[in-house]
């Protein structure tokens, strides 16, 4: 479906961002706005929980690359967790599975973030 809900929760100074829905050309601008707002407000550690994202295309990947680049400039970090195999495949195809910190769960993402 084409709408995207985005929940944001803070835990130990880390922002956990949970998009719900497909992240594609129609919806990735919403995710981009939320991530930019967080980073502009000084957040340096972000975990994106993808457990409720059944589908992502390259515009979603581009959004995450952009956020990662901004965070690296301020010595921050971005981790991705709970990817389904379809979503993981696009990171592998784009050869970005090494560039991102990809974790199995939020818990695994938190300490190293």
């Amino acid at each position: 479906m084409s709408d995207l809900q985005i929940d944001i929760e803070r835990r130990d100074g880390v922002a956990i961002v949970t998009p719900r829905g497909d992240v594609d050309m129609a919806t990735s601008p919403r995710l981009r706005t939320e991530l930019k707002k967080l980073i502009a407000a000084g957040t340096t550690r972000i975990v994106v929980d993808l457990s409720h994202v059944p589908y992502m295309d390259s515009s979603g990947v581009a959004t995450l690359v952009e956020a990662m680049k901004s965070l690296r400039q301020v010595a921050g970090s971005l981790a991705l967790c709970n990817m389904n195999p379809r979503v993981r495949a696009i990171f592998e195809i784009a050869r970005l599975d090494q560039y991102f910190t990809i974790c199995e769960s939020i818990e695994e993402a938190l300490p190293g973030t």
Partner: protein, 169 residues
């Protein structure tokens, strides 16, 4: 839909080497909010032709990327322009095979201008064409009569040959 017979030689070669069995044709507006519906349809049809779930959703991803490029680069994000998609089964292939043809009335660009960038330079954007080439066995852009572009995508079987061709590692 007679356009299929009007294509230049390269495309006709493909069409004739493998007689298509027509499945579905779609005409949609260039509205990004329609992409979800179209890729669900593509994935379901691919699956019904024999592709496994992951491959079916990858074929849908390739189509989604191609449609996003038509909307973004061809029609410069104008939402009301026509896009045509036809999905066919190619019968005389060693394995199950799907052909998807995407046509638009946007500006005609040189097919050589539509290419992937160097992935080592990590930056946002510039991944769509690479993804399409990784997933599909045939990716062919060509001018369309009377206007616009035609993209022919073919995928044969579930397994893709190892994509190490442009990867020295």
């Amino acid at each position: 839909m007679g356009a299929v017979r009007q294509g230049p030689c390269r495309r006709r070669a493909i069409a004739m080497s493998s007689e298509p069995v027509n499945q579905v044709r779609i005409q949609m507006r260039s509205d990004p909010r329609l992409l979800a519906g179209v890729r669900e349809l593509v994935a379901a049809v691919a699956h019904r032709l024999g592709f496994d779930q992951l491959t079916s959703s990858q074929i849908a991803l390739a189509v989604d990327e191609a449609l996003a490029n038509v909307i973004c680069h061809g029609y410069e994000r104008c939402c009301h322009k026509p896009i045509w998609i036809s999905i066919d089964e190619l019968k005389d292939q060693p394995e199950h095979a799907i052909r998807i043809v995407i046509e638009d009335e946007a500006r005609t660009v040189d097919a050589d201008c539509i290419r992937s960038r160097d992935l080592d330079d990590v930056r946002p954007g510039g991944l769509g064409v690479h993804i399409i080439h990784e997933i599909m066995d045939t990716v062919q852009y060509e001018p369309r009569e009377p206007a616009g572009m035609r993209l022919t995508l073919i995928r044969v079987g579930n397994r893709r040959p190892a994509s190490a061709k442009d990867d020295p590692a």
